[in-house]
Amino acid sequence: MLAANRLSPALESLPRVFALSDLKQLLPGEEDQALDVALRWLEAGVIKQVAPPRPVFFKVILGEELDEADRCRGLLRAFPSLVMVAGSVLWRQGLSAQRDTLLECCVSERELNCNLPGVALRWRPPAWWAAVRQAGGIAGDHHGVAMLTPEMALADAAAFQDVWMPDRGAVDWNQLSTAKLSEATQHLLPLREESGVRTD
């Protein structure tokens, strides 16, 4: 009990999103305790694993939702291959009048279980990252998360058909380049055929 009291301030001194390694650094010389402390917090429901079983957590605070920066931070720490896609990209780049309800991102990991509220993860094959690179399909980042270009986001949505996109009328087509859209589609074509999506 005494030990528990001594360690209890640690949660307040941690950021909203943290990794087990951060907790270990807070308990120098008592790294073994970090696991017990984290388990106690998980059992009490004051923290959750971002994407079990990955050792990344977020604090659960009643009435205080995670902001976008924290959600991105949590995702980045859990998924190295993270790239933002689909309507999430179009909204954040000012090309869509409709806002996404879920932040959609692609990862190469097969395990897509994620406890972060307002987030949806999609799987992409390893060749997808090479295709995105060859097409120059990244347009900066949002809180550190790489974002597809709008053209690549459209091509990806058409190729995989597993993401949310705004209605056609809600997209500002004037800001899109037909040549880039065509190039992005060409690069994703082999993956589209592999994924078994009808091309006619």
Binding site: A19, L35, L39, Q49, P53, S108, P126, W129, G140, A146
Partner: protein, 203 residues
Amino acid sequence: MGSQPETERWRQQELALTAVEHRLQALGEYLAVYRASYASSGEGRHYARVRMLRKDIGRLRAWWWYLQATRRGASWLPLLHRVVGLLAMFVSPVRRAGRRRHSSGMLRHLTSHSLIERAYAALEDDLQGQLLTLRLAQYQRPTDSRSREINMLQRQLEEVAGLRSSGLPEPRRLTAICHLLHRVMTMRQWLGLQLPLANLVDR
């Protein structure tokens, strides 16, 4: 029947290989995203990250090759150890912090020792993450099979802790091994010879 220390050594080698493979996978995924970002923007900060990640991946692959060779009992190991013994004298001692700051102030160059140690620490963190997931589920709905899984993971964690504390050679020797084998791997690549590689996203 193998003796106990031999079984333990085999198990440690297996864990070390797993740790390096996991780390290679993660760094490969970071590299895929940074390469795509660099190809799109041409920004120097992305290029610096790509370069640094490639260096780290190269040294980790070299260490993976060394671990594989040790496990197989490769015939060239005695020669390597002799050369490394000589080279290690010229390797500068590891700084206390174990890393140098990149000129950008953002990136950190890890020494080979820190790089490998971090791979082992990452495996330990991953296993602990799995253990926490299982323990939480066990707390909510206990089952016998999960209890067995938890015991097995705990044993694995003890082994990884042992690996971290005693499974790494002296920093100078480790640095010499990584650099030497990395160069040999580069030469083999130039000569078009196949190298045993762990899977990576978009190499």
